[in-house]
């Protein structure tokens, strides 16, 4: 599933300056969006943020995560009067949910202690012996060369080291390590572990604890961008799932795929699975593995019984046939070996889904290819635009500033244009997934959709053309060019118009093109006008406070320095008879 992630390899965190985030944040994102800035150097942006709603998420770096983790450990340790190591084991057991720890502990401390292996006192009465036999290597050692967890089962340090480091190298299950004695469940905490293992293993262990805080905690997730170490803390109940990480990657908190408005998560998952389903890889995974019903990691069953236990930390026990919890199995499902639920469901055809999907994919391969190619092309255009933007920011802006004798602050409109292009490519890309799943029989909707998509495409092309080709002239110029200010007006105008168009497109698609439902196929023209008209109501962020702020189409007026096209809202110079953006003339009344 990493088909579209490569771009981030190019995105060195430091190379993208703050303007990237602040600029990006103003566009295309939902009202519920927010962002916590800890940088103070984007003062000119402050006005554009203050009216936004409360941030619905916080981006955390590793230090923030550690700090938060330390805080909850301290809280639990203080409230329950237990050592920090024990508090950490408890929290890990209850997925870092402080309330759950409190509830469970105060309801039945003994039960919690038993479940987590936090013994209060040693279970072996051997405190007076001077020498012990290690139960692993069978050698006798003096007491001071042996270690034990709270239970008092002593093993020699070499065997302990082997035991702990094997467990650490087996994965995050080491966070739930217990005493090696098979009859004992005493927890092995970080304090003991740190006495025993190599520096490398200590770091691995501490890494697993940090990861556990993010991965087991319901409120946090890692940013899915490759190589990105930020995590996102999300406030439940926010209206929008769109999250923009400090690494510049925007993703959907709900499904952790790349931000995909206007398409919903289910469609995106279908589309992505579909994209992979064509590849041999996915066919193999579909045929040979099933996702764990709890943690969704694919599991290959290469041997053994139908009773599957997922690898730690999930450890979910389920039935391979029906994917139901193993605890639900027994006589009433027809015995453990013949899962009736599976047999019944199979007869009802419930399990043919995967089969059917592959069959249909074959039949409609051609149709699919059409959408996929366009989806992928926009994806690569977007990646190219991201690279171009970086090039622009690192080299061209400075050059242009020299040539045209403009301060770099006056050239922000170029960065904004490129950010808009990147955003539009993203939206346009997803409209192809949208189109693929738009029912064939809804002709009016399809027609309208294709019209909107076509308009979006040509609008974006105009913007892209202007930001790429026309800019070249001024970059290659010997000295300050006369037309530069006009160019600035044009590019800024195009940026703003395209932004409006795409914002409205996103909204229209998210509403399921409901215009068509109410008005039938003939609504094409009115709707496209609406697209222009609604624009300003949702306006926010600094981009939309600028140029084309009229709420409706306006005719060229003698006293006005410019006129707004009624079709696309572009602000034209008074001298222009037809719109410079869409080439249409204002209608005569």
């Amino acid at each position: 599933m990493d088909s579209d992630d490569d771009m981030h390899d190019a995105n060195d965190l430091d190379s993208l300056d703050d303007d990237y985030y602040s600029g990006d944040n103003g566009m295309g994102s939902d009202d519920g969006d927010g962002f916590e800035f800890d940088n103070s150097d984007d003062s000119d942006d402050s006005t554009s943020h203050h009216h936004r709603q409360q941030p619905s998420y916080t981006v955390l770096n590793e230090d923030d995560i550690r700090q938060r983790q330390e805080e909850v450990i301290t809280r639990i340790s203080t409230v329950l009067s237990i050592p920090r190591v024990s508090a950490s084991i408890l929290l890990r057991h209850y997925n870092w949910d402080v309330t759950k720890v409190h509830d469970a502990w105060f309801a039945d401390e003994e039960r919690v202690r038993k479940a987590t292996g936090l013994l209060e006192s040693s279970v072996v009465s051997n405190q007076n012996m001077k020498e012990f036999n290690c139960g692993i290597c069978f050698e006798a050692y003096p007491r001071d060369r042996m270690y034990a967890a709270a239970c008092g089962h002593y093993f020699c340090s070499a065997c302990w080291t082997g035991y702990v480091s094997t467990s650490i190298n087996d994965g995050p299950g080491c966070l739930m390590l217990r005493c090696p004695d098979p009859s004992c469940g005493a927890a092995v905490g970080q304090d003991l572990i740190n006495l025993l293992v190599s520096e490398e293993d200590k770091q691995k262990y501490s890494r697993y604890i940090l990861r556990s805080y993010v991965e087991d905690n319901k409120k946090t997730k890692w940013c899915p961008a490759p190589g990105c170490d930020f995590a996102v803390d999300f406030v439940a109940g926010s209206s929008s799932f769109d999250v923009s990480c400090n690494c510049s990657f925007s993703f959907c908190w709900n499904c952790t795929e790349e931000a995909h408005r206007p398409v919903d998560c289910v469609t995106v998952a279908k589309w992505i699975l579909k994209n992979c389903a064509e590849s041999e890889n996915m066919n193999w995974i579909l045929a040979n593995s099933k996702p764990c019903p709890k943690c969704k990691r694919p599991i290959e069953k290469n041997q053994g019984c139908m009773h599957i236990t997922c690898t730690p930390p999930c450890k979910f026990e389920f039935c391979w046939l029906c994917l139901g919890a193993w605890s639900d199995h027994g006589e009433r499902t027809g015995g453990f070996y013949a899962c009736n639920r599976y047999e019944t469901a199979k007869q009802e055809g419930l399990y043919d889904e995967a089969e059917k999907r592959r069959e249909m994919a074959k039949n409609s391969l051609e149709r699919y290819t059409h959408y996929y190619e366009r989806w992928a092309t926009n994806q690569s255009s977007r990646l190219k635009a991201v690279a171009d933007l970086q090039q622009m920011q690192s080299v061209h802006i400075e050059k242009l500033s020299d040539k045209q004798c403009q301060p770099e602050t006056q050239l922000k409109f170029i960065t904004e244009a490129w950010l808009q292009i990147i955003e539009c490519r993203r939206v346009l890309k997803w409209t192809y997934a949208y189109g693929y799943y738009l029912p064939e029989n809804e002709h009016a909707k399809r027609q309208f959709f294709e019209y909107l998509q076509g308009e979006a495409e040509s609008g974006l092309e105009r913007l892209h053309q202007c930001a790429e080709k026309e800019l070249q002239t001024y970059l290659n110029a010997e000295g300050p060019s006369e037309g530069f200010n006009d160019f600035k007006t044009k590019l800024a105008g195009l940026t703003s118009v395209t932004r409006n168009y795409f914002e409205n497109l996103v909204r229209a698609l998210e509403n399921g093109l409901s215009d068509v439902d109410s008005q039938g196929a003939c609504s094409k023209t009115t709707s496209s006008k609406n697209l222009g008209g609604v624009t300003k109501r949702g306006g926010r962020g600094k981009g939309t406070t600028s140029r084309t702020t009229s709420t409706g189409p306006s005719r060229p007026q003698e006293d006005s320095p410019s006129w707004h096209c009624e079709h696309c809202t572009f602000a034209n110079a008074r001298a222009n008879v037809t719109c410079q953006m869409c080439n249409r003339s204002p209608s005569a009344r």
């Binding site: 692993i136 069978f138 041997q303 139908m306 015995g335 070996y337 013949a338």
Partner: protein, 153 residues
């Protein structure tokens, strides 16, 4: 095979297995490879395997005792937790392994598994099905197989 670097634990375990064998169990290391054991388990009394002598092979991997030994039945056996290749479905051979367990405890657990088949966690689906549907008949088949394949001939 290189037996020179054999850990003391394996040597001690081997010595104890030979000097104080568990009842109904014998395990002796191969001459070429001290990590490879030829194992015999007598069918427990009052089980369908009574009177049978079951051959197994046991191998101690490089990581032993941090990793579980690998054990497999060589004698054909009709048992819901043992498949036709002789592989055994037993938790301590997988995720419940602990380095404080030993060859002896593993073999005793296998012996106990013969006394108490567990069709609720089957490895061989057909046998488990048979066991659940008609235990008496399945036990008969297990006895027949014991006579056929494990009569000690």
């Amino acid at each position: 095979m290189a037996n020179s670097n054999l850990p003391r634990r394996i040597i001690k375990e081997t010595q104890r297995l030979l000097s104080e064998p568990a009842p109904g169990i014998s395990a002796s290391p191969s001459e070429e490879n001290m990590r490879y054991f030829n194992v015999m388990i007598l069918g427990p009394t009052q089980s369908p395997y009574e009177g049978g002598v079951f051959k197994l092979e046991l191998f101690l991997p490089e990581e032993y005792p941090m990793a579980a030994p690998k054990v497999r039945f060589l004698t054909k056996i009709y048992h819901p937790n043992i498949d036709k290749l002789g592989r055994i479905c037993l938790d301590i051979l997988k995720d419940k392994w602990s380095p404080a367990l030993q060859i002896r405890t593993v073999l005793l657990s296998i012996q106990a598994l013969l006394s108490a088949p567990n069709p609720d966690d089957p490895l061989s689906e057909n046998i488990a099905k048979h066991w659940k549907a008609n235990e008496a008949e399945a036990v008969e088949t297990a006895k027949e197989w014991t006579n056929l394949y494990a009569s000690g001939a």
